[in-house]
């Protein structure tokens, strides 16, 4: 019984955390362009900072 008193609030808290994360993502418009997200991984960003020619570390 004592364990439950700790575990239930923990479970609810984790669930709420997930719910707020979802609200945040919806608010930021992350679900507005589901098809586009699937395609964007195919875009090659040539000359971007991630390529070895343009290192941004000194």
């Amino acid at each position: 019984m004592n364990g439950i008193l700790v575990l239930i609030p923990v479970a609810l808290g984790l669930g709420l955390l997930g719910l707020f994360a979802f609200f945040w993502a919806v608010g930021r418009g992350q679900f507005d362009d589901l098809d586009g997200a699937a395609l964007r991984i195919f875009i090659d960003d040539a000359g971007d900072s991630r390529t070895p020619e343009a290192p941004d570390v000194d």
């Binding site: 709420l16 679900f31 586009g36 395609l39 875009i43």
Partner: protein
């Protein structure tokens, strides 16, 4: 971002504009737009929404809209600006998905607690779990139940009942009773049922909203800025730009070549040809001289003319069409959707059953507490959970299948009405036919003649010239060096090539009612180039398929009798020619009055009122914006086959909806007697509810291949 931002300084306040770009297809297009647009001076950033086929551009306010559209064209995309009011992304769906998330979260947690209670937790533990359930359920019902409470309240205020009334009453009663049970250490709390009910119903609501949004984005609800104003000549010879709503009868307008008229009027001076296809549906431009009547919305494809305004603003013929459309659309808003029709019988029956069980058990001496418990169990068991999912689940699966087949259906009610259609009316130009003429005599021309024809044709905006230019350029013909080219409206083009006079224009000999142009080089006899407006691919096949499905077809066209008769004979269906928008509307209303449910397929603005008046309507993606807005479904591509596919898919959907209703009713026939007998516990209610919902959704998924 280390890309050049041109004139843009960091302090400039940026504005954002939204564009519909239907042409993007792949990751390459996204990359091209997102890197290509910011390379233009004044554009800070561009963000593509691929799902909606829209681009959000943040740019310097000094940058004009036509320049931005031009920038899109430079990258190879056609872009249309969208007004902000129409561009806001899925507001309703977003609210519903939040409510759905809350209900889902609450349902899972309460279910976890409820399972412990059902597995035998008793005493203090059960009370604690009920209390925790109540703590989760109350805010959830207050938040996620709002769409239902609001809709039920609106329905009751209007004096009728809908599906949301039994839902609201059921959820409220179940919650109140469960609160009482929890407070009095009772055994049965229905918090899990109430919240799970909300979850399933919200899923149905959300699917419905997603479907509406998807079609709205796809159709890209936008109206091109048509003739925003005109250049008005003053008495002293000066000219000023006036907005369309500031024009007055009696003013004199200067209408340049390639400009759309902003008002109705009479030609004062000059002679030109006008593309009136938007208003009359006639494919060929009409040559109009001094004293001739010209209409707002028509395109001047010849020389500049002066026009005296006879009617402006709300009095123009184009505004008349808009008025007809608005009036015609009112009939359609009276359509009652199938779920609401079912609710008219369902809600009173459910409430009567619950009341009956309460009275029955009271008479049997069960005491008010137990009687109420049983009545609530009846309400929960019969709550239209499966019914709420039955229609939207089937419709979203079908509309997804149709979307892949190239038909965008605007909402669920359109699918329902599409399934009911039993007569079909087609417009001719642009609907049965492709709407742009194609030359058929090109192989007979020698390369020199073809080169001269191309050189002349590319100097004119006449549709036949443009068709000739497109066809010749596609055939790889190189234009010859033709000089001194001039154009006479109604006559044609004239020029000089190697010292000879060359002419492209109206033939002097009879061409048997076909669209044709003549090419004359020097003293040689004229060579006739004939044009046809080809039928859309699969047109005849679609007509016979519709016949097979029980939809007789006919043509109502604004075009000339000879061409309509030709198309009608080719397809073997009756056709009427020379109809104006009001007469088309009257014909549709006559058919409706005779008991037919008309599917109207049309594309021009002149079809707008008929599209709005038909029981259901479809428009090709090449249609005028206003027609796309008025139509219930838009089909992409040049083929006519999607019309028959849509009918078949809509009927399959309706069959699945009916099966789902049968499943839901069958479930009630089993469950209601159990509930009335007092045998239903919260555990059985939860199992029954989720079981029936899953069956209904699984049945709907069978529609995935409906639009083959």
């Amino acid at each position: 971002m280390n890309r050049p931002t041109g004139l843009l300084s960091a302090e400039t306040a940026l504005v954002t504009s939204r564009f519909a770009v239907p042409g993007m297809r792949c990751a390459g297009c996204i990359a091209k737009l997102e890197t290509g647009l910011p390379a233009m001076a004044g554009v800070a950033a561009a963000r593509v929404n691929f799902t909606a086929r829209q681009v959000l551009v943040s740019h310097d306010p000094a940058l004009a809209m036509p320049d931005l559209v031009q920038a899109f064209a430079g990258l190879g995309f056609e872009a249309n600006p969208i007004q902000d009011a129409l561009g806001a992304p899925d507001s309703e769906a977003r609210g519903l998905v939040k409510a759905l998330a809350v209900a889902g979260f609450a349902a899972m947690n309460i279910m976890l607690l409820s399972v412990s209670v059902w597995s035998g937790a008793g005493g203090v533990t059960r009370d604690l779990f009920h209390l925790l359930s109540a703590l989760i359920a109350l805010p959830t019902i207050a938040y996620a139940g709002q769409p239902f409470y609001r809709s039920a309240w609106r329905a009751l205020q209007a004096g009728h009942s809908n599906m949301d009334v039994p839902i609201s009453i059921g959820v409220s009663l179940a919650t109140a009773l469960s609160l009482y049970e929890s407070a009095t250490h009772g055994a049965h709390a229905y918090f899990d049922s109430a919240v799970m009910l909300l979850f399933f119903l919200l899923a149905g609501r959300w699917l419905d909203a997603v479907m509406r949004d998807r079609a709205r984005d796809g159709v890209s609800a936008l109206l091109k800025h048509m003739a925003p104003g005109a250049l008005v000549l003053a008495d002293d010879g000066g000219s000023h730009w006036h907005r369309a709503d500031a024009l007055q009868p009696g003013m004199t307008l200067l209408v340049a070549s390639g400009e759309r008229l902003a008002a109705d009027g009479l030609i004062l001076d000059g002679r030109s040809h006008f593309d009136q296809s938007l208003i009359t549906g006639e494919a060929m431009p009409v040559a109009i001289g001094p004293g001739g009547r010209v209409l707002a919305g028509t395109l001047n494809c010849g020389d500049a003319v002066q026009v005296t305004v006879t009617a402006a603003g709300a009095d123009t013929s184009i505004a008349d069409i808009a008025r007809l459309m608005r009036d015609a659309a009112q009939g359609r808003s009276r359509y009652v959707r199938i779920a609401d029709r079912a609710a008219r019988f369902y809600a009173p029956a459910v409430h009567a059953l619950a009341l009956l069980s309460f009275i029955g058990w009271m008479l049997a001496g069960a005491g008010w507490h137990q009687s109420l418990l049983i009545a609530v169990a009846v309400l929960i068991i019969t709550c239209p959970c499966a019914l709420g999912l039955a229609v939207p689940a089937a419709q979203i699966v079908a509309s997804g299948a149709l979307m892949r087949a190239g038909v965008l259906v605007k909402d669920g009610s359109a699918l329902e009405r599409l399934a009911e259609a039993d007569a079909c009316v087609f417009d001719k130009t642009g609907t049965l036919t492709l709407g742009h003429p194609e030359p058929i005599d090109l192989p007979r021309l020698d390369p020199d003649a073809a080169g001269v024809a191309l050189a002349l044709a590319r100097c004119s905006r006449h549709p036949l010239s443009e068709a000739l230019r497109t066809a010749l350029a596609a055939a790889g013909i190189r234009p010859r060096q033709v000089t001194l080219i001039s154009e006479t409206p109604g006559e044609g083009l004239r020029g000089q090539w190697r010292g000879q006079v060359v002419r492209l224009g109206r033939p002097t000999i009879e061409t048997g009612g076909m669209m044709a142009t003549a090419l004359v080089i020097g003293n040689a006899p004229e060579q006739i180039i004939r044009f046809i407006d080809p039928l859309r691919p699969h047109a005849a096949q679609t007509i016979s398929e519709l016949q097979h499905l029980g939809l007789g077809s006919r043509i109502l066209s604004g075009d000339a009798a000879a061409t309509v008769a030709m198309v009608a004979a080719e397809l073997g269906i009756p056709g009427e020619a020379g109809l104006d928008p009001a007469t088309k509307l009257a014909r549709i209303n006559a058919l409706t009055g005779a008991g037919a449910r008309v599917l109207m397929v049309g594309d021009g603005l002149n079809d707008g009122p008929a599209l709005a008046a038909g029981h259901v309507s479809m428009a090709p993606a090449s249609a005028a914006d206003a027609s796309q807005m008025a139509a219930d479904a838009v089909f992409l591509g040049s083929s006519l086959a999607p019309v028959a596919i849509a009918i078949r898919a809509a009927r399959a959907t309706q069959a699945v909806v009916r099966q789902n209703f049968a499943l839901a009713i069958g479930y009630n026939i089993v469950a209601v007697p159990l509930a009335m007998a007092g045998l239903v516990t919260p555990l059985i209610a939860a199992l029954a509810m989720s079981g029936s919902s899953i069956i209904v959704v699984a049945n709907a998924l069978r529609l995935k291949g409906a639009a083959r």
